[in-house]
Subunit: 201 residues, 2 copies
DNA sequence: GAAGTATATTGCACTCGGTGCAAAATTCAA
DNA sequence: TTGAATTTTGCACCGAGTGCAATATACTTC
């Protein structure tokens, strides 16, 4: 057992290099004007190898989502069973967004702003996330993940994460702490929805 | 002026044929296992021409969205200015979903269920729709479309449309009228959110 | 250290979606 | 009928993504 994890280590290293070079090129010349071949070459690796690390070009940018998805789902699962939905959402989103590098977040947000393909893929991820959240919520409540209420709840959590996250990044310059920001988002949402719709029309 | 709009008429006809054949092939063999060449051939037109009618393969299926997007946005714009958000959402979603063919909706829902690429593109459309909704809401309220509250409101409307629509299609067999269904969705949402989150944690 | 096994990397050929361009066919207005 | 506007088409091209088989590299065993 001279070196147990040299393979794994090298793999990790290559992955990082691909991400670094990818992000750099994207930032410099835009997402669309950067080809996979270019990224692979910059990372000193073959085009074919690139696809062994990332399933798509978009994943170079969006793979970070997997990290905070995990954090979010964990927070939902470990929340006290009697907590109200918005409370759970608040904690979960804070947990997810907390582990986020400011610079990287800003770049990501900017790339998403001017790259339709990236936005589409991004939303595709949110769609899958929403399903996972529905699953986690269903575990908590004992209901089915396909239950209407469960789906609506999942929709809310996802929406808070998405909109809150994006707006928070934009406000990052002001140095607002995440906790406070998310709390305000949730408060705003609660107020918006407590005004009942017209019942008779 | 023998024929004023024969061009336009023929164009419309070709478009319809492409959609019909596309939907048929998708239903028969699945979205992924149907190529653009196949659709074009079935419609008796060249592959290149296909792309003069649809920007992408997905659009063959999703172009209907444009119709009910218009209906939705119109409903938002013409809503009384003092109406509460959930009321506006309710009316708008009813208006949008009302003009929907049941069979086609079911096929679409099924295709979306087992085609990731389609789901992704679908969500991409919702993303754009959410922005449009934010714009319409901003017109009403005088706020900016980038305002946090406006964005959250737009998120809610989109979510109601998306989840409500999808669930409604699943329940179509039971013959529940749209109005009632959407109203229940909104009521459920309102109840969910009126329970305030824990303020001190 | 050498031999053998597992895994990573690579090149290659291929499919498919999508686009630019210019020529040919069609529709429309004079 | 002539000529302009527009549609259709073919063709060549790019880039993303995949399957496969060969080669190189890391790890294990003796």
């Amino acid at each position: 057992m001279t070196q147990q994890g040299r393979r794994e280590q090298k793999r990790e290293e290559t992955r990082r290099r691909l991400m670094r070079e990818g992000q750099r090129l994207f930032a410099e010349q835009g997402f669309d004007r950067t080809s996979v071949d270019e990224i692979a070459a910059a990372a000193g690796v073959s085009r074919r190898t690139f696809f062994h690390y990332f399933g798509s070009k978009e994943d170079v940018v969006l793979s970070r989502h997997d990290d905070f998805e995990r954090a979010l789902l964990d927070a939902i699962r470990t929340a006290p069973p009697e907590a109200p939905l918005l409370g759970v959402a608040e904690q979960a989103v804070i947990a997810a967004l907390g582990s986020f590098d400011a610079d990287e977040a800003r770049l990501l947000e900017q790339l998403k702003r001017d790259t339709p393909a990236l936005r589409a893929r991004d939303h595709g991820k949110y769609e899958r996330l929403e399903r996972s959240i529905a699953g986690a919520l269903a575990e908590r409540s004992g209901a089915s993940p396909d239950d209407l209420r469960t789906r609506l709840d999942a929709m809310l959590v996802t929406g808070i994460l998405r909109v809150g996250g994006s707006e928070w990044v934009r406000a990052l310059a002001a140095g607002v702490p995440i906790e406070e920001y998310v709390r305000q988002v949730v408060r705003l949402l609660g107020r918006e929805l407590s005004s009942a719709p017209a019942e008779g029309s």
